[in-house]
Symmetry: C2
Subunit: 436 residues, 2 copies
Amino acid sequence: MTTPRAIVVVTGTEVLGGWVADANGPWLARRLGALGVQHVSTVVVGDRPEDLRSALEHARDQGVELLITSGGLGPTEDDLTAQIVAEFTHRDFRLDEALEGRIWKIIEPMSKRWKGISQEAVREANRKQAMVPDGAAVLEPVGTAPGLVVPPTDDDPDRPPTPTVVVLPGPPPELQPMWATVETHPGLLAAIGGATSLHESTVRLFGLPESELANTMRDARAAGVAVDSFEITTCMRGGELEVVSRWTPEQEEAGRAFEAFLVERHGDAVFSPDGRTVDELVLDGLRERGWTVGTAESCTGGLLAGRLTRLPGSSDVVEGGIVSYSNAVKEQALGVDPALLAAHGAVSPEVAAAMAAGARERLGVDVAISTTGIAGPGGGTDDKPVGTVHVAVTGPEGTLSRHLRLPGDRARVRELTTTAALHLVRRVLAGEHDAA
Amino acid sequence: MTTPRAIVVVTGTEVLGGWVADANGPWLARRLGALGVQHVSTVVVGDRPEDLRSALEHARDQGVELLITSGGLGPTEDDLTAQIVAEFTHRDFRLDEALEGRIWKIIEPMSKRWKGISQEAVREANRKQAMVPDGAAVLEPVGTAPGLVVPPTDDDPDRPPTPTVVVLPGPPPELQPMWATVETHPGLLAAIGGATSLHESTVRLFGLPESELANTMRDARAAGVAVDSFEITTCMRGGELEVVSRWTPEQEEAGRAFEAFLVERHGDAVFSPDGRTVDELVLDGLRERGWTVGTAESCTGGLLAGRLTRLPGSSDVVEGGIVSYSNAVKEQALGVDPALLAAHGAVSPEVAAAMAAGARERLGVDVAISTTGIAGPGGGTDDKPVGTVHVAVTGPEGTLSRHLRLPGDRARVRELTTTAALHLVRRVLAGEHDAA
């Protein structure tokens, strides 16, 4: 059978205008891919009804099987998605009194805390959110707005048939849990027909340019690996290369052969054959070793500690850190020798090593990570241009250090330094250290 | 005259698939807004030529004056935007030899560093990037890819006329500088006709719910302020409310009156009438006072220091910080009394105050900021649920502290705490402190 196709329509003036980043288009793209649905396009429109209508019509005219909307389901007068979808699918738009009652149970306790809002206005908003196109299935609200699965309308040969329309709320904390219901909904399964749920597999590499992967693909093809028989997506992110493969059961052999080729060819660069992020690998590795960790940061200014504490449960292993932005703090809080700073400058392998050693001692941790560098835009010299960074990791078995020359602006240098530091910890956990 | 309208088409499988966030749609939205152009929609498509073609045709059928594409201008065979735009506008697609020579001057020095790539392949890629639709104006490359301004094609009454098409490269560091040339390009000015460059004004508020602003708008209207005569966009971000007004010279009086009404009504919540962010206000305020600053972070885990050091030049005032994630580090690095921790717990106003006092002394700074709280998902109790946070700022003139109950998940609690802490510094800089 042919691959079912979908178009996502995101509504919201604040998204279109660039005030809020669209989280739903990219998130739904991943979910559609995993369902084996070809995602044709994501269209972002504002709150003008005619623009939403035009986007729906264009999707219909492209003959897609599935149309997904996000947003425009709120209680206010400019939230018009459900009504426009009803018109678009030529269906009556009616109050669902049972649904009205269920929504009331959600909003009644909230409404008592609202001051200066009339009960009548609240009931009216309640009624508006309970209006449903004839024949549509209701997806129970996660917040206060219900979603909808509207089946295709193809009863009038004089009108173009409309595809299945899934109507979802805009806030990601509402949309994402609701999607779990959609994935197994009979209306969705009917729309995407025999779409096979694809296996998704992620391999992460560090320190390999994306261009090198093109060579690898060519060589794999020459070696008889059927790399063109399934879907491969690659993406560079913060110095890491993410290779995502998606395959059906029939394509699995080719997919596994490709991954084996990748690991064989780039064994040293492949750090995660199972999709775990470097953040997870580092925390898990520290737990396995029973080691605590702390930081001594200069150019990253706290971002490394912030990243180590990002995941829940990180307090198992993360004790804390010292942000030694000034030389005075490097000396006082980390015990870096002023003579060392004077002789080599703050951005030097000697100071990076002294910072890590100082943090290890002062914080009483097993592993200490230091960063010192020139993030820019100012502060660069011929000798040490912007992007010059030294990173060191000191653990119970020795020290591992790196001299980096990083590209990009201030934000990028700080981000890349943070990622590089985590990879250095990963190597230390694997037993690597500098020659004495 | 009527407002000119534009559609943005973003190409790239990695953007459509959610692997890379689209930076160009939102960025161009802001630029179009400032030019007085109505932005109808942003369409994201992958690398399938038929999907790009369909997006262009839909934009044409909506009758917009301006179509902007980003991406698909690279040297490889799946970069097809320029060719598809040539077909779409019914124009011949020809090699511009002078342009080929200018691109060669850019890539020749790079190509010497590429190993295993034949000179012939490089010359071919060079030629591909120098192909131009007949009659289009070339925008000189920022990277290696030139942009294009293709004028409307309306010479054949049997075909629908095509709008002006501006073709831009995908990478934001190339697109954004190239846009500066586009803004004053005769081809663009012809497309948007008499569009007036709009004045954009931003007011930022903290501690006001977005729903309250609806009341303010109603009251302003009742007081005779013409709030419907110009464009107002509002957006909640990290606990802050951003109100952006855009007006023409004729609308300026109404715009100014609205801003005055906003400041009069919500004077305490308005913290930035000139668009400066709280980050900028805090660093500027510290510089004015001649005060240095440092941090003592628990639940924010380094994010506050990371944010203070985000802006260039922050080393003027930021000395550093201590991330005291564990109680041991709170005691050793900040000198918090173990008896205090035992009596009140780490998440308490007493410990927040002791952390700030400890950081002020140990880091030798004028102002110290502390955060301690329960970011979740674990660690909450009936007494101190997830989202319970204490923040304290100690300066030369006293201490200011807050007990917060924040909504959301771990990432949101950490982000909102960071923002709230900066606002507390802002108040300290204005002379506020707790009663003794």
